[in-house]
Symmetry: C2
Subunit: 125 residues, 2 copies
Amino acid sequence: MRRTEEGGRKADSGLRRNDMDEGHTELFSALAEPSRMRIVALLREGPLSVGEIADRLELRQPQASKHLKVLQQAGVVEVQAEANRRHYRLRPEPFREMEDWLAGYRELWSDRFDRLDEYLRNMPD
Amino acid sequence: MRRTEEGGRKADSGLRRNDMDEGHTELFSALAEPSRMRIVALLREGPLSVGEIADRLELRQPQASKHLKVLQQAGVVEVQAEANRRHYRLRPEPFREMEDWLAGYRELWSDRFDRLDEYLRNMPD
DNA sequence: TTCGAATATTCCTTTACAGGAATATTCAAC
DNA sequence: GTTGAATATTCCTGTAAAGGAATATTCGAA
């Protein structure tokens, strides 16, 4: 099969607000794997080729490719072809999305919520 | 087996800084499941019993219990027993941890980094 | 046009995990 | 103690996903 260069990024256009919570499962799933987490951490330093990633993380090349594919489908990384090499880099979007998602829980550790929490905890049935 | 009430929270005391990235895989894994994500979203409103959670999300009770167990082991929720009922509530810690983790990537979407990104993208080999 | 490097893909096997159904446990009330 | 409600656990089964090994594809260079 001809390899398509445009990247398999899943369409993220038509997300209604209610789908958001479930919509992040692919992202979390992609990050819920030690090797992929290490890849993401490594790519913080900048774009790297598959071989470099495999070397630095002591992964076999096929596994590195597979993990990168998963990360790409989740929108975490994007690829740029250059001759034989593929340079993978982090995409900022998923991190922004995660930040937005997290924001919905930020009241959890605010002082105000801590007091409400305490209140409910001691509430009689 | 006797059910222990103290909760199976995984020890999070001795985390060296280098384990952090991999250390979050359990958390991401717990959230990488639609039903659990919905449970977490639901618990934002406040503590709920297993039955209430199962009802509101149209889950069967055993599945609800299982998901809550996973969430508990990941430290996402804690339980408070009250007679027959178990009241599950969100714990703020994992959200704080995620916020910290995310902070390490925040430069990704800063203006400064965007320019660096652009620079590297157009870099000759 | 053949070769070697870089990367992707396929096939296979093993393991983790989710859902369903049934059952066990715990507790309060009687 | 027996019962019923609330919850947890076990067993089973299907499925998705990860790693290993082998192979296919692509490209630049000789």
